[in-house]
Amino acid sequence: MRASGLLFLWMILFPVQIMAQPPVPTSGYNFLGKDIQAIQDDEFLNPGMPTVELGSQIFRESEEGEKSCASCHGEEGESMDKAKIAAYPAYQPAYKKVHTLQERIHACWTDKQDRFPLLYDDQKLVALETFVRSLARGSVINVEVNEKSRALYEQGEKLYKKRFGQMAMTCHHCHVQYQGIFMRGRKLTQGQTNGFPVYRFTSDRVTSLHRRFNECFVELRAEPFEAGSEEYRALEYYMGVMSNGLKVETPAVRF
C-alpha cells in the first residue's frame, strides 16, 4: 500500500522534476544525420573551409607600411589563446563595453592596424571571424558575465523571451520549450551559437550569427534589427552564456 503510494507520488513528481531542470546544452551537431556530421568533421569536405582559407589570407595581408594581423599573432595565429577565443563575447575593460569576436577583430583592424573601418558583417570581417574562431575548434565555450556587463546580458534575456512579428513567437518557445520536437519537417534545435559563423546548405554560404538572426526575424514576419546593433549584441551575449560548456565547432555545417 505504502509502496504504491510512493510510486504514485513519484509518477507525479518525476515529470515536474525533469521539467524544472534547465535543459542540458546540446550542440546542433547532435540534431544532424550521420552523413552531415561526417561532412562537418572532414576538413576537406567541409564547405566552410574555403572561408577559413580566405580569412587566413586576410589575416596575413597588410597595407603598405602597416602591420598585418600575422605580424603580432603569428603566421597561423598560433600566439592567440584558444580559451580566450572561446570566451567571446567578452567584456573589454579598455573599451568599457562587451565586444563580440567580430568587434574585437575590428577594434584591432582600426586601432592597431589603422585601416579603414568596415561595416559589421562585412565579408572580410566574417571571413576573419571564421578563421580566428576555427583556431579554437574543440575548445570549451566559457562566456562570463560580470557586474559591468550584466545589463547587456539581461537585455539579451529580455529579447530572447519577447514576442516578435506577426507570428508573435519568442526565441524561447522554439529553442527551449519545444526543442527536439518536430515542426513539420524540421526538428527544433536549441539554437546554440557554438558553430558560428556556420555554413548553411539552405543559403549555400557561411552565415554570421547576426545574419542568422535576420533570417529568423524574417520567418517570424518581424522587422529585423541591424547587424551589429545593440539588440543583436545583447542576444549574442545571452546565447553565448547559454552555450557555455559546448565545444567550438566553427565552421559548423547546418541546414
Binding site: 506577426q166 513539420r184 514576419r221
Partner: protein, 159 residues
Amino acid sequence: MGRNKTIFSIFLLSVFVLLPHSALADSYCQWELATENHFPAIDKPLCDLKGDARRGKKIAVDRGLGNCLACHAMPIPEEDFHGQIGPALYDVAQRYSEAQLRARMVDATLINPQSIMPGFYRHPDKHYRLAFRYVGSTFLSAQQIEDIIAYLLTLRGQQ
C-alpha cells in the same frame, strides 16, 4: 516640368503602396469575446461570413497560409511531416464548439497567454516590430478563418 512630374509620380506610387495596408486595417472585423463553459469563445462568425470546409483543408495544408500541419497532426495522410508541438486535431470538433474554435483561431493567447500559436486574426496594431510588408494585415483573412473552422468542425475522430 519634369521635376514636378517625378514628384507627382512618386506621390502616386506611395498612394498605391500604402493604400492596400490602410484598406486592410479598415476592413478588420470586430469580434466580441464571450465565455462558454469557462472557456473564451466568439459566437458570431467573423464579418458574418460562411466557411467552406474544402477550401479550409487547403489553407490548413498550405505552408504560406494556415500551415496548421507545422504544429498539429491532422487526418491528412497524403501530406508528410505532421508537427508535434500542438495537440493532434483528429477529434477537435468533439472537444470544442464552433465558438471556442473561433476564439482559438483568432488569438490563442486569449486562452493560454504563454501559447506559441500565432494569433491568426489578431488586430494588426497588436504586433511588436511587424515587418513592413505585413503592416496593417492579419495573418489570415476573415474568410480563411471561417473556412478553416468549417473544416475543423468536420474532424470528429473515428466514425
